[in-house]
Symmetry: C2
Subunit: 432 residues, 2 copies
């Protein structure tokens, strides 16, 4: 199956930099992009699609989510952190397999409609939610979160690890490679030294990537310094975790030394601006990370602390809040932010074959409607994407050359059935 998009504006990549083409052509053959240019290609295609007034850009990569937590959205809003956690934990503890699945399905509906073609998720039951990746056609890096380790939770952490190892063995690279199974340590403050050391040894040499939370709050940072005499990043590094390709969510309170270690070890920092603002965590030193040459990706965090999985909203926040914080309108350039939301996330996921529109790359492509009052005029396409566009402007989402969402319709997912199941899960969790 091959398709030629014509008359499009295209946010293409050439030698690592964005290049905007107008009235241009993009050809897809099978899973791959086989042509980008302003003149019609000489190859023939099965179908042609007119993309007048549409911007084709790379699909978005949401590099840190807890998808099924959308079921907890809005519970305990605006409470202090601990009270909020105390509100949602008892509900989370009630979640059954069907609830994890319903939450994941609803999140994927939202992500596809908003231009996300791949996401990295950390939660408890990827062993059951993985089927949503298979059925929907989206790409994802899932992991079975590992935590615990004191005398009360030793067995739990053992179970976490057994499940994580089995999940990796059985599902890594499933669904034609759309599913990656990553390793995980929830965070420095939710695992004991004993278990953390054991787990670091267990996963080394098995391949894959590591997904962690790092230095999200000042309290976490200070408590780790008090308890261990080192920062969370130094502790992870000491245990050898950073020998596994790692992406670390939040990184709000990392020190300059932490950043140097992360740079040296190739750790990706995942910026989560909505969550960091809403929960009062603070401003990650993102411009400094970029200046130091770290790979910085972008993620929504869970819908319980966002409260959605809207990557356009994250791009907007990432583009503006640091200017405000540093009193400088010249930092955080839109082109850097779009890279954070696309190719940098793809690199963190170990997917060098996606994240940009280039010949030979996977056809993970979204179309953004430019024919709307807020999208005119276009004097600067990356600025338009970051400052003006909304997730709802996405009118087509394609993964591996297959259209999964177009003009409000889902081509692989049964929206009505999913809404029905999701509402049933909401009712169940609200009961008692």
């Amino acid at each position: 199956m091959s398709v030629l998009f014509k008359n499009a504006r295209i946010l293409a990549t050439e030698n690592g930099a964005f290049k905007v083409l107008d009235g241009a052509f993009l050809g897809v053959d099978g899973k791959k992009i086989n042509y980008i240019g302003v003149s019609r290609p000489s190859f023939s295609y099965d179908t042609e699609k007119d993309m007048h007034d549409r911007l084709l850009m790379p699909g978005l990569v949401n590099s840190h989510a807890h998808s099924s937590m959308n079921l907890l959205k809005g519970m305990g809003s605006d409470l202090p952190l601990q009270q909020w956690l105390n509100t949602i934990w008892p509900v989370e503890a009630k979640m059954r397999d069907v609830d994890f699945i319903a939450g994941m399905e609803m999140a994927v509906l939202e992500m596809l409609a908003g231009g996300t073609t791949s996401f990295s998720d950390m939660y408890f039951s990827p062993m059951v939610t993985q089927k949503v990746i298979g059925e929907s056609g989206i790409k994802a890096d899932l992991c079975r979160v590992v935590m615990g380790g004191d005398e009360h939770t030793d067995y739990l952490s053992y179970q976490n690890r057994v499940e994580a190892l089995a999940f990796h063995r059985d599902f890594d690279n499933a669904y034609d490679g759309r599913l990656h199974v990553d390793w995980s340590v929830h965070a420095e403050y939710t695992i004991s030294d004993n278990i953390a050391e054991k787990w670091a040894e267990e996963i080394q040499g098995l391949g894959g990537r590591l997904h962690i939370h790092l230095s999200e709050t000042r309290a976490e940072q200070e408590s780790c310094l008090n308890k261990r005499g080192m920062t969370p990043a130094a502790w992870f590094n000491k245990l050898g975790y950073f020998n596994v390709p790692t992406y670390a969510a939040h990184c709000v309170w990392v020190t300059d030394e932490d950043l140097a270690v992360m740079r040296e070890k190739g750790v990706t920092a995942v910026h989560n601006p909505s969550s960091n603002m809403k929960l009062g965590s603070g401003f990650a030193p993102v411009q400094k990370m970029l200046d130091m040459g770290l790979n910085v990706a972008l993620g929504t965090d869970g819908s319980a602390s966002n409260n959605n999985v809207n990557m356009f909203e994250e791009m907007h926040l990432a583009s503006v809040i640091h200017n405000g914080y540093h009193l400088d309108p010249t930092i955080m350039r839109p082109s850097d932010v779009i890279k954070m939301a696309t190719i940098n996330g793809a690199m963190a996921q170990g997917r060098p074959d996606t994240g940009s529109l280039e010949v030979g790359k996977c056809a993970d492509i979204i179309a953004v409607n430019l024919d709307a009052p807020h999208m005119l005029p276009d004097h600067d396409t990356p600025a338009l994407v970051c400052y003006s566009a909304q997730a709802s402007d996405v009118c087509m989402t394609m993964v591996d050359g297959k259209i999964l969402y177009e003009n409000g319709e889902y081509l692989t997912m049964d929206k009505e059935r999913i809404f029905h199941d999701y509402r049933a899960s909401c009712e169940y969790l609200a009961s008692k």
Copy 2:
């Protein structure tokens, strides 16, 4: 003409506080709301509209905009302030009456689609753009901006004032009161003492309200202190401006003394979070303003520095950025933010008959679609509006009991003709 909305979720107001009704009825008779309740009213209505899976909430009031500046959107993005101004000023100087009108029309299309039912605009040619208010059915407070005053611009500032006075005389309360004509001083730093004193005398006693920029940047604040030995707020107050009901945009660098004066004089602070972040202006002390009892409204600023007129985006930013800045998730409650975006703005516009859903108030109502992945579940309706909702979720916008926008269609505006004119203006301004 009367209409009964049924089966709706309603964000009503009772004794000054929000109250969420479910499966409820809202009746509109002529321009006014004549019923809100969970049981069917005994009155009869010409038509009924089923609002299942819809939230009815008050229309949004955008309290600070420069609508026609959408034509300059994306020009000189991410340049330092002065270079950005130097980029846009020559283009702005080319704008003809048709361009001001095209810009205003496009902004009103965007605002109606995003749930704005009234806005306060400051720009150069309200004398010609006022007709857009008349034709579209939206409400607006327009003003002819007054600035200038040194030897080179004395004549200009004289012309500004003559135009402002004539505009007020001819158009205040036009279009059944939907148009208010306000007074304006652009800002402390763009007018001379001489002209500012004269203008303060001229407008006192004429009624109306005053729309100004106040303490937007640190440079403005410091330069005023150096030049005049007082803050911009103290200077405006000394000249008597605050005897006119005033709303002041930005207020980022106001001092505690300024806030005390504003509180005493009833000056509304208009918060512009997108613009303040994007331009690197800083964080207005909004929570302190609210705690002190100031009236705080919300606005987008112009699309050249935002880059859209999306009040849902402003509500989101206002809800989260201050938590991040103060490292406290408990401040800036969604219900306060929605008031900023509705009734507080209505108060600043001198429209006590709107801004909330209550019997007897104007039927300035929007419907928000709740049947979308990012809008489920609803555990906390104000939180859902501020954290999860998007402008594109608005599916109906009603002003004075008249539906102006519904499900993508405009009932009073010719979208096709406006897009055509707007594109012609963009081409003209981009030429040479």
